[in-house]
């Protein structure tokens, strides 16, 4: 037995010696390092491609010509100013002269041209974005001036240029060899942004360092370590044990955990301004929701305040319209269809849906008033909201069947229109309203299908196509008013709440704020004491 124990000890010692040791990550981080966590590695950081490149990390390394600011304002960024021709088809951008990429390569008109070219050479990958179909190859006017010419006067060009992808700028030295496009891969992820990707260890962490050549205010911290932690509970544990300094964003931790932290004096919790809108889309072509009075009754029967209090623990704001009035073209003074069960009951009575039997469910001509509500089965928030809606609609005599499914089936239902009610959020800034509204014209998320029963659907689609290429600001406002009012009056959506981002940190971290969009995390301002 003694020999056995000796043998075992030798084994354990040997394993301890050969076990992989990492210089970073867990065994203490150097001072001057801010530690954050994300569900996966940040990816190869190709500015012109999508998954697995993580958007928040792309914004840390790459910058746009113009940037999206609060309230939908577009502000100068790598371009210090721009001119638009009278017909809205030509944009001339005057680039900042003090910008270099993190490897010292100057940022100039040639670099812009090269990036536009490589993106256009893969136009099929970006077919979802109208801007790519609109722009032609960039023209170099002089070393620091470029011109973009459009096929039509597409007004949201500046908004689309501000997006995280696909049109941010990679250093010409980061392009692949042999004149290949960036769709084939990168030589190195070199941008003009405040951070430089220094090291990636798959499944463990990504290490960023401050871009010492940055033209703007340089990050307060020298290094930013982003650990890979997929599980929200594990993230909370990592935070409580000091393994990470910051929790930031939507869905990083459970709301219960956030509620616990907000009561704990050791931590500071913050809630961002509204981002996207959490909605339930109602199918105007199928089932009982085909009828306007039924859809209106649903709007009046659901008590959003109780959902916000009970499910979101007060972390989100009540939404009465599809877009918050703070977004461009969205302050329309639309009438909120407030919580009023009596009115809901009256609407249903008038539509012929009467309570007859003992079950409490209304019926008409032998048909009971039953609707399906589809949600993502693994999404605990969806499930809780769905249960509240089910209980509240039952009170006015409407039977709700809950259908919880996995991602693919859920999105397939949205795409194919196989639903009565289905969760369907807006995309949030900088996509709202123009990109989101633009997507209503073809089946993708639930919007096209939900609206397809409206008598004026063709007219709405036509207006959307017109508004995107309208030059006159007044006409554009009028068209947005027409589109959004029509959708609101015909009760296509049940807006529930405006989603928010959450942040938690300890007292040793200063200047934690929120970006204008959910994809930008202002790490550069954050400072560890």
């Amino acid at each position: 037995m003694r020999r056995y124990f000796k043998l075992m000890s030798a084994f354990i010692l040997a394993l301890a010696l050969i076990c992989p040791l990492s210089d970073l990550g867990q065994a203490g981080t150097p001072s001057g390092t801010l530690v954050y966590s994300h569900t996966s590695n940040v990816g190869p950081l190709n500015p012109h491609l999508y998954s697995p490149n993580q958007m928040f990390a792309q914004t840390m390394v790459y910058e746009p010509l113009v940037r999206y600011a609060e309230g939908g304002r577009i502000i100068p960024w790598l371009a210090e100013k721009w001119d638009k021709s009278a017909d809205g088809r030509e944009y001339t951008f005057f680039l900042r002269k003090d910008v270099v990429f993190s490897d010292g390569t100057p940022f100039d008109a040639e670099a812009v041209k090269k990036n536009v070219e490589t993106v256009l050479s893969n136009a099929k990958k970006h077919s979802w974005l109208e801007m790519i179909a609109q722009i032609q190859p960039a023209q170099v006017v002089d070393a620091h001036t470029v011109k973009l010419v459009l096929k039509d006067p597409y007004y949201p060009l500046l908004q689309d240029l501000a997006l995280v992808r696909p049109l941010r700028f990679l250093s010409p030295t980061g392009f692949p060899e042999g004149g290949k496009s960036t769709a084939e891969g990168l030589k190195a992820p070199i941008g003009t942004g405040p951070w430089v990707l220094r090291e990636t260890k798959l499944g463990e962490y990504d290490l960023f360092v401050r871009n010492e050549k940055y033209w703007g205010a340089k990050p307060a911290m020298e290094r930013l370590l982003i650990k890979v932690i997929p599980d929200p509970n594990s993230r909370a544990v990592a935070f409580e044990t000091g393994e990470i300094d910051l929790i930031y964003g939507d869905g990083q931790i459970n709301l219960d955990t956030f509620g616990r932290y907000s009561k704990d004096k050791r931590y500071q919790t913050k809630i961002s301004p509204p981002l996207s809108t959490r909605c339930v889309a109602m199918n105007t072509k199928k089932g009982a929701t085909k009828e306007l009075p039924v859809r209106k009754a649903i709007l009046h029967a659901v008590d959003k305040d109780s959902i916000i209090k009970g499910v979101f623990l007060g972390t989100e704001l009540r939404a009465d319209t599809l877009f918050p009035p703070t977004l461009p073209y969205c302050d329309l003074g639309l009438n909120p269809d407030g919580f009023d069960p009596a009115k809901a009951a009256k609407l249903l009575d008038e539509a012929g849906w009467k309570k007859t039997g003992t079950s409490g469910v209304r019926s008409r001509d032998g048909q009971t008033l039953t609707v399906d509500l589809c949600f993502l089965g693994k999404n605990a928030v969806h499930k809780s909201i769905a249960e509240v809606i089910q209980a509240q609609l039952m009170k006015v005599g409407m039977d709700v069947q809950l259908i919880g499914e996995e991602d693919d089936s859920f999105y397939k239902r949205q795409h194919m229109g196989e639903f009565d009610l289905i969760f369907n959020d807006t995309w949030g800034p900088p996509y709202d309203p123009h990109s989101f509204v633009g997507s209503w014209r073809v089946p993708s998320h639930a919007d096209f299908q939900a609206q397809s029963g409206l008598p004026n659907k063709a007219k709405i689609d036509e207006r959307i196509s017109q508004v995107l290429v309208s030059v006159d600001e007044k006409a554009r406002q009028d068209m947005y008013r027409e589109i959004l009012t029509s959708i609101h009056d015909q009760a296509v959506y049940l807006p529930l709440s405006y989603t928010t981002g959450l942040a938690v940190h300890g007292p040793n971290l200063e200047n934690v704020g929120f970006g204008a969009t959910e994809y930008e995390i202002p790490f550069e301002a954050m400072k560890k004491k």
Partner: protein, 314 residues
């Protein structure tokens, strides 16, 4: 013996083929749509045009049979394709993460054997007394404890409350303690019970009775006759534990943010990353079969009855 090993290795080829067909079909006959998943991860609206574009890019618009034989042809040349999500070669990534999982499973196996053996022996030697009740109780609780729950409880106690051990990740030898213990508890408990039962059986064997009659010292009776013979079923069980540990790693690696192959597989399942799932399942099948083969060889080597009797026939 060599013929026996060769036979078993040859058998691996049709087995892997069958598994590859089954996995290929099972993944594709469900509702799963990798194109939809890719667009969701990329935050691109899934219009018909975007879906068609991604399907073409990933080669999903070809007939299933063509897809399978194309995949098989490349797999025979050890090219298991590119991940739908990352675009990286699947085999490279799996081989990158595999050593971390084997390290975790290896330490767990050491715990399983290192603690299971003395507990089992102790329990058998003190049958129906408190050590026996204690180890049986422990085994009962251990077998019924889900590994992820145990993981969180350990983290709560040793990381949050006591601050003794790092809660997650991989780095120093301390990092492996909690994940390895969470992973091994079930195998450890099964092993303890197995050794106890096997010891008790051997104690009643005639050889043991004769040894005692011959006046052999009790410690030699237990050490040379009972324990040695009781170990054979334990060696057989190692093959089974290997499967439990590799399967369990899928859960435990997520709880402890352990950068292993199991966690990579879980993210592939969420993202409908078919090439990764196919390669992972084949790799696990091969690992499981080879580890069982090694166990069989070890058993034959340990047990002369197998070597000269059944082994000789093979």
């Amino acid at each position: 013996m060599i013929r026996f090993i060769l036979n078993r290795l040859l058998l691996l080829i049709p087995l892997l083929l069958v598994v590859s067909v089954l996995v290929f079909l099972l993944l594709r006959l469900g509702e799963n749509d990798p194109a939809m998943s890719y667009l969701r991860l990329s935050r691109i609206p899934p219009s018909e045009q975007a879906l068609a574009e991604v399907r073409e890019q990933l080669g999903l618009n070809r007939p299933l049979v063509v897809q399978y034989f194309d995949w098989l042809g490349r797999a025979l040349r050890m090219d298991f394709g590119l991940s739908y999500v990352t675009g990286a070669p699947v085999l490279d990534r799996l081989l990158y993460y595999l050593p971390n999982t084997l390290y975790l499973a290896g330490v767990s196996m050491l715990i399983t054997l290192g603690l299971g053996l003395p507990l089992g022996v102790w329990s058998a030697l003190r049958k129906d007394r408190w050590p026996d009740h204690f180890s049986r109780g422990l085994a009962f609780i251990g077998v019924s404890t889900p590994s992820f729950w145990l993981g969180f409880m350990l983290v709560f106690l040793f990381s949050i409350k006591l601050g003794w051990l790092p809660p997650l990740g991989m780095g120093s030898p301390l990092h492996v303690i909690m994940p390895a213990f969470s992973l091994s508890l079930m195998s450890l408990c099964i092993n303890t019970r197995l050794i106890r039962t096997s010891m008790l059986e051997q104690m009643n064997a005639r050889s043991v009775l004769y040894a005692r009659i011959r006046g052999v010292l009790e410690k030699w009776v237990i050490g040379r006759h009972v324990l040695r013979n009781s170990l054979i079923p334990v060696v057989t069980a190692i093959g089974m534990h290997m499967g439990e540990l590799l399967g369990g790693a899928v859960v435990v690696e997520n709880v402890f943010a352990w950068p292993g192959v199991g966690r990579y597989a879980v993210s592939a399942i969420y993202n409908r990353d078919f090439p990764v799932m196919q390669c992972f399942l084949l790799m696990m099948t091969a690992l499981f079969v080879v580890s069982n083969l090694l166990v069989d060889v070890l058993c034959a080597w340990l047990d002369p009855r197998l070597r000269y009797g059944k082994g000789a026939e093979l």
